[in-house]
């Protein structure tokens, strides 16, 4: 084995590459100067300006509502899909089903966006808030399905089988035993779905309509005109929301994991 010096250098460079651009963005959102490259001292004026920018705040509100709704529907659908994939062998046209789960993960967004838009036009639905929710649900559910699926394949089924043997109905067994045990994965899936929806520009651009401008669409239209500290502030706010969410989720997952281990331990010792 080579000395750890080399490995540490590679990792440091790699992580610096990943984090420095984001750090710079956050730092410059507190810049008093309007020029992006000149440091004019610490200031929160861009946050105040952003707060009073009604169009930006409206877009933020739309984005959060879309993200919560589509992540929640997507988590329910994705969890069902994962259960179907792992637990049920006899799915009609199983190949088609799993292909439809995996394909959206890599499908270029321009194709997904355009095809969904054409569907909405073909059936004569007015585009707006709900069409974005449907579009986001469709691609986020596949990510949730993958996350939950990976938990289900390593799942110890003895508790479930015990419940079923003792006469617990399958649906009740699912809610009383299976769901609590896979909950960390379901929560992680929801978080992933929420951020994917929060971030999406391309699919939202195709499927949105009047009155449903999301934050990425708003940011994109302003970025094209140039870099402004106000956009830095909006971006930092988004990063902040996501970071806090990730921290809460990972703490919650850790606690649940701990609880699960304790419960499983209790269950095995009791048995």
């Amino acid at each position: 084995m080579k000395p750890g010096r080399f490995d540490a250098t590679v990792l440091t460079i790699g992580f610096a590459f990943l984090y420095i651009p984001i750090l710079i963005l956050v730092i410059y959102s507190f810049n008093a100067s309007k020029l992006v490259t000149v440091w004019g001292g610490f200031s929160t004026q861009w946050y105040q300006q952003m707060w009073h920018n009604e169009a930006l705040m409206d877009a933020a509100w739309v984005t959060i509502r879309v993200a919560v709704l589509s992540a929640s529907i997507g988590t329910v659908l994705g969890t069902l899909a994962a259960l179907a994939l792992v637990r049920f062998v006899r799915i009609p046209a199983r190949m088609l089903f799993s292909a439809m789960i995996y394909a959206p993960l890599v499908m270029p967004e321009v194709i997904t966006g355009l095809s969904l838009l054409l569907l909405f036009v073909a059936v004569g639905v007015d585009r707006g808030f709900w069409t974005v929710v449907i579009a986001h649900t469709t691609f986020t559910m596949c990510y949730v399905a993958i996350v939950v699926q990976s938990r289900l394949v390593t799942f110890d089924r003895s508790l479930e089988e015990a419940a079923l043997d003792l006469g617990c109905p399958p649906v009740k067994t699912f809610f009383a035993i299976t769901l609590p045990l896979i909950m960390p994965a379901v929560v992680a899936g929801w978080m992933l779905a929420f951020t994917l929806s929060l971030d999406d520009l391309v699919i939202a651009s195709f499927t949105t309509g009047p009155g449903a401008t999301t934050l990425p669409i708003k940011i994109y239209s302003q970025v094209r005109l140039g870099v402004t500290p106000e956009i830095n502030a909006a971006c930092t706010l988004l990063i902040g929301i996501v970071t806090i969410g990730v921290i809460i989720a990972s703490v919650a997952t850790k606690r649940r994991e701990y609880q699960r281990q304790r419960d499983e331990h209790l269950a095995t010792t009791a048995a």
């Binding site: 590679v10 490259t37 637990r87 049920f88 799993s98 439809m100 095809s115 079923l164 399958p170």
Partner: protein, 305 residues
């Protein structure tokens, strides 16, 4: 498996499969049928801006007689489109190789790190992924602009004169930087999960038998990490081919990519049928990599179960 199937009541079981299945057929499969249909129709200046090929379910012969391959013919006649497809594929191939070049050493070092810090390292790779794609690309504009931070850094290090500026923004180089930066987590994670599973005793044995480390890498580590290499490459290659945001924000006039072309046809020229035809051909181009990706995923699923 058989036990659950035997004890599950038909109805609930049926719903578990049917609900996501129907949703995906409605909102994933159906749109592709429609996109093919519209790519075969004429452009019209109306709302929606195309003439439907068939309304309702008329007879099949009627339908076929009305099919119109003009959009596809147009795509083959104008060299702009074939160039855009080729250049997208070129960018995707080069980017994927660059990503392997950057991602592989990172994944390898992560897999060789102490067990204790591995989860932290994985978390550090995943975290930027939680940050908006758009924001991460935007961050690079401020760095790469001629009067941006990179110029400032090079000038303060006296590597550049006060009048010299970095000419990267709005070039192909900027597009590559943006792509490698944005897709790096997607490459590192599959590589890491393949390398982590590697049996360390194999390398020890090679070492004991006098095999030099670099040879051991080529004979043992790399071949065993191939599933990760393929998975990571496909996860990056396919979306990069259709990438829109990065070439649009960081690329220049000479950056020709099909995702951008599609976007312009749709939002700029409002030519929906042509945009659909562009999308259908892009999909055909990507069918092989998508099938490889699917098989890889299914294998991984089967392997774990």
């Amino acid at each position: 498996m058989s036990q659950a199937s035997a004890t599950s009541p038909g109805k609930a079981r049926w719903l578990v499969v049917a609900v996501p299945y129907v949703w995906l057929i409605l909102f994933f499969l159906m749109p592709f049928v429609i996109i093919v249909k519209i790519s075969l129709s004429d452009t019209a200046i109306s709302m929606p801006p195309y003439t439907p090929v068939f309304q309702g379910f008329s007879t099949l012969r009627d339908f076929i007689s009305q099919l119109d391959f003009d959009n596809y013919l147009f795509l083959t006649e104008d060299p702009l489109y074939s160039e855009a497809y080729l250049s997208s594929l070129r960018v995707a191939v080069v980017s994927t190789l660059l990503l392997l070049l950057v991602g592989y050493p990172m994944a390898l070092c992560m897999a060789r790190a102490n067990h204790g810090i591995r989860p932290t390292l994985v978390m550090l790779v995943i975290l930027p992924f939680w940050t908006s794609f758009l924001i991460r690309v935007y961050a690079w504009i401020g760095i790469l602009k001629p009067e941006g931070l990179l110029t400032l850094l090079l000038q303060s290090l006296h590597l550049y004169g006060p009048d010299e500026q970095v000419q990267i923004f709005r070039t192909q180089t900027a597009v590559y930087i943006g792509i490698v930066y944005s897709y790096l987590p997607f490459m590192v994670l599959p590589l890491y999960s393949a390398l982590e599973k590697l049996d360390g005793t194999l390398l020890e044995a090679a070492n004991d038998l006098g095999c030099p480390p670099w040879k051991a890498f080529w004979k043992i580590t790399f071949p065993l990490s191939l599933p990760g290499v393929i998975a990571g490459s496909m996860i990056c290659f396919i979306p990069i081919t259709g990438e829109f945001v990065i070439p649009d924000l960081l690329g220049g006039a000479q950056t020709l990519m099909i995702g951008k072309t599609l976007w312009t046809e749709f939002f700029g020229n409002r030519d929906w049928p042509l945009a659909s035809a562009v999308a259908v051909i892009l999909l055909i181009v990507l069918v092989i990599p998508i099938v490889i990706f699917q098989n890889q995923q299914r294998k991984a699923e089967g392997g774990k179960a």
